[in-house]
Subunit: 428 residues, 4 copies
């Protein structure tokens, strides 16, 4: 286990004294005898002490360091590159990978980290997920030993930034129709030339290592490449940022434009072929999202509850006194705890080697759907004040729509599940 | 552990060879490497071998003995009294109670039994729940030692039938306004006279032991009584059946009419006072319902899936081929597995002494709501054929409405949760 | 205009004095200055005096004569054949047809009649719709002059009962795959032999005239036949009743089994071919359903409101005092008035020759969906008492599921609309 | 009728040739024989030629002049003050007022104008509504003749900008608890001093005339004042803009801060007292919102449909080919046409003197709820591309949340309706 995480875990008392009261609930929950609205079905009972300590470390960092930055970042679409380094220092990047400077924590612990980051902002979580679950997982699962040793430590520390280029302008839900091509360099041995265009790529404008999936011209099969920006001749790799986004504005998003970009064969993943490669990474990320979305939802609940208790309307009653308000809170709390339990179960199954991709489709879909639906309903609690970004709720609502959509839109996962349930496909 | 259950558990091979293929999935699931639509997130991994064996025993009994009877029972509102004895023989009644001839299984195992019974019919499960969670739990938790020893063994075997009289014609969601009265017999020492009326009482017409909650005239406090029918003089106790029900027709429901019915002080629960008594029992029953509703939903899924695969429309495609059908199945499967995980978590917490009533409100409400909503949507898969009772779906739909309503209507539990979340009550 | 209807219309004062207060609202609504929850957006302003008088006549009949019979009819699946004659006497059958003893009222008036019948029970409305919109419309639109003159007057008076055989056991949503065959009699000139099987046919067991759609063996095209039971040799026509229905139990439903049943060429519709024939009739019926479903919903609203005002829970407050109850009522009232306005608009367009089938798909789908959804939510107002059939709500809920399903299940109409909106079909 | 509107109406041919094809549908719809997805139930049949011409004029202006500006305005929270003058020139401001330079059109025509503006952006519509329905209506209904003659013509032309100050920082849904105070000037006769604070006031930073509702200190009753900025001494009136809004960013919003601001008694509305004044104006605005929300929804439908036809996924099929997509479109189209019919009905009733406030609550609530819900579902059609503001859908989604919330949040209108339906209030 990585030492920075461990150190954090070994100093809970110190940490606790420094954080605001609302963040402390988890640490004391084991002895609670009363209903705890922040963990209604005691999911925390399912976690080891180490996992809880890791969550606490992540929570402390996120609340102390990320929360104060998010409003400005979101307003101005201004992602702070230093965040990756800070996360790297704490061991939050690629946390479930063993070795290469990574923390080697359980999938559950990794999910809890994700949840704490997304409690602040889905965009911050996106930036971390892309680095960890997509870029690092791709290299760790499929790269040569040399590639792992060369790139993973820098990515783990956040010295290098990574991204993951799968989606193309014309192919979102259907990556199999990919148009990006890799062809053998006509003269240089051991070199491929990549051409094509990827879009909606989180982190692409700041990435040093870009995982790019392309069809090998000779076979028509999809292969993966770790493109190192420093090695790309001018004009062969462009990563323009996409601005004026309606959500996830605290993350940075861009395109990857490849024009005969040369990549050494050593940077191609040697074995994996077809969609197995990208889908392995996506499954890792999606499992993180299933945890993360619950973090965002819990923040919405927390804020709506506080607002409902403080805001008075009609004869001085707090909004919390009204049935229509209570129902919104009860529904949201229920979905948050159900989703957390389900994500925990799948994470445990993954570590036990019993997880299937359909399980991940199921929890990614449901947790995102419910986080989105409930955040929208909780937004109503704020009335007109929801229009002020200082209440944070509209940001979560906007973010969660994209979270529901990317890495498999809800309907796509429904069809994946439908196929698994019936044995019949209904995509076309 | 009760021997009849244990014997069943020790012979899985023999049993498996006798039951239809569709019932076998649970027993073999541990070794499945593929997605299992009947247990998508492998809740079964959370159960011990004993718990799984108990579930299998219950499932076998329910599918072989109850399923063939349910159509006629529902059509004709004809509950077979022998079912209680059959269940008693297998150890399914009061299964989580230690001693007194009860099986003494875990709360999880008890929940799994409930689930298997409700997979067949919510009415059958109601009959069992009332006997186990309400009547037997009341006596076990609150009765004198003498009362326990005298009544529990007969109830455990199903030789005696029990019921639970709390709801009154004018007081459903608000039992605190109870009108039934117990007053000291004017002449007979050690005797109370009960007067009042209870309604919607499952099993009342066939009950030998009727738990009746009444306000003690002297204190105005609610107290519990185990009324033994055999000891009631003629005219003091009537239990007319309520017929022409729109649901739960396979169970028997009635009133309890008490007219100065004499009950010995020994049959009054000595300590418990107020709503603590009935709510303790209701919490036990509600936890069972949270499991049971998932059983009914799983049966709906199973039947809708089979129908969708067999029914062809438009160019010979099975309904299962259509996106709108797949989405219904995916949604239902998701809710069934989430609900099962949550109920399992609460059952484990209960055995660990960490369960609160609000947790039970949460899962009772959510699992019933989702079972009802999904069963209705799955009903659409059957098109016009849903109108035939031989497809069983309309029966589940009708039942689940009542299951959502009784033992705390969904809105009432929302307000219980709202109060627990906000600290403010919104009942009035 | 038919005289029996007209007489009714000319005696509003007399009628008003005889009907209960709750039924009177419509007649006085023109002068209301306050919000009228029974007609919140004053749809009645869109009706002529004649139309209002016809609605009043129908309402009076339905409330006085049908309402008292419905509980027993539904319990025992016992449709009273005399109802058709009573309706015939009042001019309610085939009401929008000109001539042949029919009332010749506007499509709006016809819709209002439908609404009043379904206010009592969807099954009663089904029996009327099948007679009017399906059997009579088929003959009137497509039959020879001789056939019209011979059959329509008897059907209009309810002396003859009619039904409509389109749906087959294997073909519900996709009637184009019909298997029933009509072939030329091998020896008798001018005679067709019909063979095949129809199911879920309202009124079939009591029908004298059965409209049967069959594929002409020689052409493979669908043609329509008016089969007269009295002319069918023994063993060539069977119409067994379907019992143990889960809904619409106050109507009678059966199969039509044809075994080389001889039908004279005069009874074949001479011109219409393909699905144009049945769809024309279905569109007429579906427009009626769009009105009718609003009648059933209004009855649910009326009953739920009354219950909510009379039932007291928690400190003596009526349920109506609680926010969660008020929201249910507000939602239902909104959908009822929106649906009524839309149906009225389409009925007016139909009389103006501007109605398209997609309009009818739209209102049939939406009004049925909303009636069903709201009736289910209103059912919650009744708590456990909803399980008693004497509150009538469970009957409406069960009925409305079938009403949503038959004559085009909601999803099928969604795809019809989707095709009309996009120009692309998604059925297969 | 105002001449600028009329001139527009008399030149339809010229206009039609200048506008893009997608805008032409309304003008030709009368002769359509096929289903028109843009007006599925032919609401246009309910409008007079004048009303249709006015709608066409408004549509042309909005599509040609507003649509090109909205993206930049929304991105930069940059409302162009000239828009009011342009609208004034066309006669769109205070259009239903007779005299004072206003167009004097029907309430229906006024609603159609609103719909066309909100088809572009709810913020633009907000700016217009505040000017027309709130500020101008307040003066027209309650001001002295002198005030009307002095202020209305400038407001009608857009030379003057107006706003409406009711909501306070602590009182949104419950304006009766207002804290802003008007007290008699201690020394100046005929002058009131206004002190207090209003928030979320559309147009306040640019307003010349600010309608302010305040409690008269002497009576405690709410009274209305037309505050003219030009007459306020420095430091007595501040109207800081509220920036960083999460929605309605194309409109300008601010506070009104009054610090002993002197207002002449001539500028106080002489008769109206209590909440009657502001509610009269709000009802006028809400009726406009009920139309406007349908315009925004129709734009979402139009854009989603176009995207679904152009975007190909899986074997080259357009998204429009998929059932799950078609259902989203069918649902939205249905709600758009139902909502338009209902708003039209209420507008007609208003002109006939038969409209009640509850009718307006009903349509404001339902149309906003459905516009919001459907826009969110249609957003899913765009997948990840919805995150780009160039697809406009996220803007509508964000806007419609506020539209649902302001001028009576959905739940508040539900309680208004609940009270009207049951006669019992459930606010507290």
């Amino acid at each position: 286990m990585n030492t920075s995480l461990f150190r954090a875990a070994s100093r809970p008392a110190a940490r606790l004294s420094q954080i605001p009261a609302t963040s402390r609930s988890i640490a004391v929950r084991r002895y609670a005898t009363a209903f705890n609205w922040e963990d209604p079905l005691l999911a925390s009972e399912l976690y080891t002490d180490d996992e809880l300590a890791i969550q606490e470390t992540a929570r402390q960092y996120c609340q102390e360091r990320l929360q104060p930055r998010v409003l400005d970042a979101y307003r101005n679409e201004n992602y702070d590159r230093k965040i990756l380094e800070e996360m790297g220092e704490l061991g939050l990047l690629g946390a479930s990978i063993e070795g290469y400077g990574c923390a080697g924590v359980s999938t559950v612990a990794s999910g809890l980290i994700t949840k704490e980051v997304e409690r602040v902002d889905s965009g911050y979580r996106s930036g971390m997920s892309v680095q960890s679950s997509l870029a690092m997982t791709a290299i760790h699962e499929f790269g040569t030993q040399e590639l792992k040793e060369r790139l993973l430590p820098g990515l783990a520390k956040g010295k290098l930034a990574g991204c993951f280029g799968l989606t193309e302008p014309n192919h979102g839900s259907d990556p199999g129709s990919m148009e990006t091509i890799a062809r053998v360099h006509p003269t240089q041995k051991g070199v491929y030339l990549l051409s094509g265009s990827k879009t909606w790529i989180t982190n692409s404008p700041i990435s040093d290592v870009l995982i790019v999936w392309a069809k090998l011209q000779s076979t028509g099969k999809i292969r993966g490449f770790a493109v190192e920006r420093s090695k790309c001749p001018p004009g062969t790799l462009e990563t323009p940022a996409l601005k004026n986004k309606s959500a996830l504005r605290a993350s940075i998003t861009g395109m990857i434009q490849l024009d005969n970009c040369p990549v050494a064969v050593e940077n191609m993943f040697p074995v994996v072929e077809g969609l197995t490669g990208p889908f392995t990474c996506l499954n890792s990320a999606r499992l993180g999202i299933a945890f993360g979305a619950m973090g965002a939802l819990e923040d919405c609940i927390n804020r709506a509850r506080t607002y409902a208790l403080e805001r008075k309307q009609f004869k001085g009653n707090p909004l919390a006194k009204y049935q229509l308000i209570q129902k919104k809170l009860a529904d949201a709390v229920t979905d948050a705890t159900y989703g957390t339990l389900a994500a925990t179960q799948v994470a445990r199954l993954k570590d036990a080697g019993k997880c299937t991709p359909e399980m991940i489709s199921l929890i990614k879909r449901q947790n995102c759907d419910r986080a989105l639906a409930n955040s929208r309903i909780l937004q109503e609690v704020f009335g007109g004040n929801a229009a002020s970004d200082e209440y944070h709720i509209a940001r979560h609502v906007a973010n969660l729509f994209v979270v529901q959509t990317y890495e498999g839109q809800s309907d796509i996962h429904a069809l994946i599940l439908g196929r698994a349930i019936t044995g019949v496909q209904a995509f076309v």
